[in-house]
Amino acid sequence: MTAKKAEVNLKVTLGPLSLPNPVMVASGTFGYGLEYSSLINISKLGGIVVKGLSIEPRPGNPPPRLVETHGGLINAIGLENVGVDNFVNQKLPLLLKHEVPVIVNIFGNTVEEYSELAKILDGVTGISALEINISCPNVKSGGIVFGTDPKQIQKVVSSVRENTGLPLITKLTPNVTDIGEMAKAAVEAGTDIISAINTVSAMAVDINSRKPKLGNIVGGLSGPAIKPIALKKVWNILNSVEVPVIGIGGISNHEDALEFLLVGARAVQIGTANFIHPKTSVEIIEGIRSFLESNGLKDVNEFIGSLKLDS
């Protein structure tokens, strides 16, 4: 009889939010959670962050909405979504049949809309956390307009905080001079967790037609190209605030995910890689487990934040 090998612990705790493992799927890259369910066992995920929701359904931006670049994808979707009521009544009940933490990303045009969304979702059973989107670069009002000004961040986050007891994640944009200042504002206003980064502002043009390649003219860059930027922004945030941080940006395999954990992110979200290889997130979880095992670690928390700075 061989002794059973002790399971590596992958559970992580982010303030009030506990996750079975540190690998979530990012908002806007996994729909409302079930689209990929015939390809992967979504119950294995650390969490699903659903597409950003507004109070009313939004049609989104005129096409073209996508441009592929070297190692990246520029999008200008414009937060097209079914609206919070349709999500709660039609999408969420199906998603809750799977045992996976559901995190709802919320978006408003005004501070009042953010607080209204928080109020509505606070009473809904089965939601693990809210992620406040103040970082979408592709809409005219709201979104990044709030996320680039510490005073606005405070207004939005505190209005949401006043209306929900759910764990609160604030998702920050990299398109600022000092992301640490933005994180401080969010923390002072009551966010429990920071997630970063959203897409990097970007543009693409066609020299033959002499037109922009996106209907919205500008968009946001995601994918492997932004990973080093994301890692540095996460590092900045970790050096500015005490709350747990979720790393997002170009993570495509378990080594990428481990880099974010190494600098101190308590969890990660996988975005664009889901489009290329839908099993990415599940494979990253297994990859992290194997890495920890082969390095003699029994708990992912031993690895988190273990970056060696003195040579």
Binding site: K51, I276, H277
Partner: protein
């Protein structure tokens, strides 16, 4: 509707016209679940460059032996990599995806196929589907290409009792002009189809839509757009609902080519 991810073995990969290649793949799960007009997302290599998968519609489905064919035009990095692959190589494929072709309504006998350039691809499978049906449809193919060298397998349609009208932009073969010019002339001078199917570049589809509206025609259009996911989550492939709206109607909002399409019904619902 289940989606499969398969490591598909390439059985053949050959040039069939100027800039156009045909690939046959062994992918039993996808081939047996697919129907004409649907598509699959191809990962052209196991690296992150190019980053995204490429969508290709099935040209023919061979359910019995678990294979399918695609036709593709070499236009960029992804298709260049594909054209260098050989029989025995493997490709990671996601499919079948989207809504494919539906049968015409019961009354329809005169069917027109409108194919522009590589938009000919799904018509091989559609013809297979219609020829299996008990009704003997009269099928006319309008097939346009930039030049005669780019035409693919016209004989397939001739052998399957279709009337074939070729159009080339440079006049090297058939009618000298756009396929939509030929369609509009034929439609005015002789008969009107009971139903049509079209697939081609966006400017062609815009003119097809105008022609269909003017003549109050019903049909199905297979649309082509840039895609990231192919399964309905990224919302990147959307097309304006207004594109398909009838005369004087203004509709707001968008449809996902990968989920509500790629084949959209025009005119009255069938």
């Amino acid at each position: 509707m289940p989606i499969f991810q398969e490591k598909a073995r390439i059985l053949k990969n050959q040039r069939v016209a100027q800039g156009v290649w045909e690939m046959r793949l062994q992918a039993p799960q996808i081939a047996s679940a697919a129907y004409p007009g649907q598509f699959a997302m191809f990962r052209v290599r196991d690296e992150l460059s190019p980053l995204l998968r490429r969508p290709f519609s099935f040209s023919r489905l061979n359910t019995a032996d678990g294979t399918f064919d695609i036709l593709y035009k070499v236009v960029g990095q992804g298709t260049r990599i594909m054209s260098a692959l050989s029989a025995g190589d493997y490709l990671d494929i996601l499919g079948p995806l989207g809504r494919g072709f539906r049968l015409p309504p019961k009354h329809a006998r005169e069917i027109w196929f409108l194919a522009g350039g590589i938009g000919i691809a799904p018509f091989f499978g559609l013809l297979d589907m219609l020829r299996q049906h008990e009704i003997g449809f009269n099928i006319t193919l309008f097939y346009g290409a930039a030049t005669g060298e780019e035409l693919v397998r016209c004989e397939f349609f001739e052998q399957n009792n279709c009337t074939v009208n070729i159009c080339t932009d440079d006049g090297t073969c058939g009618f000298h002009g756009f396929i939509t010019d030929s369609v509009e002339r034929t439609c005015t001078l002789t008969s009107v189809p009971d139903y049509f199917y079209s697939c081609g570049p966006h400017p062609m589809q815009q003119r097809v839509m105008e022609w269909a509206k003017c003549n109050n025609l019903q049909g199905q259009m297979s649309m082509e757009t840039m895609m990231a996911c192919g399964v309905g989550v990224c919302l990147g492939c959307s097309i304006s609902k207004n594109f398909f709206a009838g005369e004087q109607k203004i509709e707001t909002g968008y449809l996902r080519v990968c989920r509500e399409g790629p084949v959209f019904t025009i005119g009255d619902r069938t």
